[in-house]
Amino acid sequence: MNNMTLTFPSRLENEAFARTSAVAFLMPLNPSVDEIMEIKTIIAEAVVNAMIHGYEQNQEGIITLKLEYDDQRTIHILVEDEGCGIADIDQAMQPLFTTKEHLERSGMGMTIMDTFADEFHITSGIGKGTKLEMTKKLHGTHESTQQ
């Protein structure tokens, strides 16, 4: 079992920091190139959602990213904000649904996370914030973990 927690303000430049830090933390598991890409994308989608939707681009909001993995190479990912919350989760989950088309959002973020993660769970309350919990099992190369 290993874990790490990052907290950072809702500034756009911190999204790259979050996704690259997550991948760096998972390097001992020797994930495949595809798995790295999927994890990077999951983190990017979750963090950008917190920044743009949760905090509505208010740069003072704090985002928490927590990663945990176990001996079975199952990764638990948590991304949490204390922003405005999601009014209708089922609607937010619909591919191409977005409340921010004027910001050129595609409405694909949730679909992408749901596809790339093995388990995907949202808890959200209006005015309270949103918590995304995901798990992803690594299947790719893992020789280095057996040495």
């Binding site: 743009i52 591919p95 977005t98 050129e104 992408i112 596809t115």
Partner: protein, 105 residues
């Protein structure tokens, strides 16, 4: 990002991580170039792109809408296998073509 205009086609070439921050910096430049050249066709070349997420899909869909207003066409070029998987989820290839290779800088 680089661009060139040849015979009615405006080419954009993207490089590195096309994330939210990068797209927010490039968006207005692309909008302005399309308005300036009024091309019949725009090709977005992703060959040099190492990372893209839903922000990139949103950007492509928005350029598609911008071009449709002037009856012009948008074509995506040279997506990597993984990036193609991501774009495929959005159904975007039902409204625009994906090409390999094409005109380089």
């Amino acid at each position: 990002m680089k661009h060139q205009y040849i015979d009615g086609t405006l080419y954009f070439y993207f490089y590195g991580d096309l994330d939210n921050l990068t797209v927010s910096r490039l968006k207005d430049i692309c909008i302005a170039l399309i308005d300036e050249y009024k091309p019949r066709q725009v090709k977005l070349d992703f060959e040099g792109v190492t990372f893209v997420d839903s922000t990139g899909i949103g950007f492509v869909l928005a350029r598609y809408k911008q071009l449709r207003k002037m009856n012009s066409e948008l074509i995506i070029c040279n997506l990597s296998r993984t990036n193609q998987t991501l774009f495929h989820m959005s159904g975007i290839f039902q409204i625009m073509k994906h090409e390999r290779n094409g005109v380089k800088l």
